[in-house]
Point group: C2
Chain length 342, copies 2
């Protein structure tokens, strides 16, 4: 069978995924199994006007087509993930602090108009969750809860192969679920959000506080050199892997708070799997046995704690894979958009 025949039969072998950030755009070609075949990067002029930002996006997409001209004929669509807030239901970028060029910008329809293919827009965590559900660690599980642990904490909820969006498309803000209403103020304004307690910066801050208050010897003192403010989460992870007791204490305290939050997520959502991605997921995975041991204290039913916890398959490329996955989402169920009386 020739490639032309495949096209006429409607095979959609590729999706194009675009990960838009505040300083650069990464675009890649992804096959039907989720493998990234090619990727490229261009600068994002996020502080210029809407047209300049869109021109950069078009350039990134065109660079992918130029490298793989045949992909255009069998393209399922172009998926784009971008910083929020955005409206994934209508494909509109609202007013992201990191993308001032796009204010109420109808990104999905503009891409659709420019390239004559289906285009989908969603936020990073939702997109990454979908990629994991359909191509990654979540394959074979019906309901997937994805948590991205890094500079921030994000979440994505996949039910039956589709992103759960909620009323205005803002659901799954798992990082801003509070487990301590008297706790530290989060960047979002709430108190005690898990992001305020367990993100990368929160871990570094916890380490600085422990170093300042404790006389314990610690490799972290060397890593911080003279100024504790220099200390990063990576330093904490490095010290932990080198056997540092204070770094271990700091990570255990963090993991114990994460366990409270996971208990809440399980009691409410009881997903079939929990997947961890993001920059600090790897070091957290060393503590999965501790989480599993402590979870029964924070879940109301013991049988609910036996939930698989896995590391994400995609690493730094999760943006491209996630964006591409947006065009592979299960179609909407046959359920009506509103429930009527029977």
């Amino acid at each position: 069978m020739t490639s032309k025949e495949q096209t006429s039969e409607g095979h959609q072998d590729f999706t194009l995924g675009v990960d838009v950030g505040g300083t650069k755009i990464a675009a890649g070609l992804v096959d039907a199994k989720g493998t990234i075949l090619y990727q490229t990067r261009v600068p994002m002029p996020a502080r210029e006007d809407a047209a300049a930002g869109f021109a950069a996006l078009q350039a990134a997409i065109r660079a992918v087509f130029a490298a793989h001209p045949q992909s255009r004929d069998t393209l399922a669509g172009i998926g784009i993930c971008a910083p929020g807030p955005l409206d994934p239901i209508r494909g509109i970028v609202l007013n992201p602090p990191n993308l001032p060029c796009w204010h109420n910008f109808p990104l999905a329809s503009e891409v659709q108009r420019a390239f004559h293919v289906c285009a989908k827009v969603d936020n990073d965590a939702n997109a990454a969750a979908l990629a994991e559900a359909i191509w990654g660690a979540g394959v074979g599980f019906r309901n997937v809860f994805y948590a991205t642990l890094g500079t921030g904490i994000g979440a994505g909820i996949i039910f039956d192969g589709r992103i759960y969006h909620g009323r205005t498309g803002s659901a799954a803000e798992g990082g801003h679920v509070s487990i301590d209403y008297n706790g530290p103020r989060c960047g979002c304004g709430k108190r005690g959000c898990i992001e305020a307690l367990c993100s990368g910066p929160a871990i570094a801050q916890r380490a600085r506080a422990r170093l300042a208050e404790s006389g314990m010897p610690s490799r972290l003192r060397e890593l911080a050199r003279t100024n504790l403010e220099n200390l990063t989460t990576q330093d904490v992870a490095e010290a932990f892997h080198a056997g540092d007791a204070l770094a271990k204490e700091v990570l255990e305290a963090t993991v114990d708070l994460l366990t409270v939050w996971l208990g809440n997520m399980i009691d409410l959502l009881e997903p079939d799997v929990i997947i961890f991605g993001g920059g600090i997921a790897q070091v957290m995975s060393d503590f999965f046995p501790r989480i599993q041991r402590e979870l029964p204290r924070w879940c109301i039913n013991a049988r609910c704690c036996e939930i698989p916890m896995l590391l994400a398959k995609y690493g730094p490329d999760t943006g491209i894979a996630g964006a591409a996955a947006l065009c592979r989402q299960q179609q909407s169920s046959s359920a009506p958009s509103t429930v009527r009386t029977l």
Copy 2:
């Protein structure tokens, strides 16, 4: 058209709803619009053996058929709500403390075998949520979050006309989401569950503590007579309606904690509507304007706070209506039970 022809065309005009409790069983006949046409009650011998418990259930069901013999020909099914823990997916009552007679009892299949109709089993909060979604305050909304506020706090989540059950059927344990991991111990063992902070007993306890520590005059002192331990949530509600300042303070403190929890629910689930049922929902509804005012402090997006909050339509009969609704659930979507790679 005769009633017989209707039957042969498959019209299912009635469902039978059975609400099983620790001391009594209420059974009723419910039409296709959710109106309870008839109801009856029998004692539940919960401390006898499984057969005695099941005989009481059968007697309740037969009493309904005896009062409305024609209902049997056009019955969509028998729905039963019972105290948890239970497995709604397999229709099995596991080991409820209030129903020692039924331990791993296959209630759905036993009812199905005895009456030759479809039978469904679920917990009270899920069933009540479904009744509200398809017949009550939630009609016309796609995703419904139902909270029952009373001696305990329960929740039910309805997506697209169906109860969301999660992996083992234990999802939607919203009452045991913790908003204060250092907070008071809940009956479930966790700390800071919203049930430990805002249930009826928690409100009475808050009132007793305020009375003990404050010199404020309060009608509550008369209502409690000489012993503060006598004070109930109903007393607090009565005093509040009579203009008592201390009772108002106690309810405001409760509502402010409920608002933190609602913010978490909205950030995570963003339902289309939130419905409040249960014994103390009515007095809480006086504070809906306060909740709406404070919610933006506990939701990360202002646009997410404009969510409708409504009182449940069903009151004390919610158990019968909820049980009956179990047989009116939307069929499963066309999505596969596991997600496969594309």
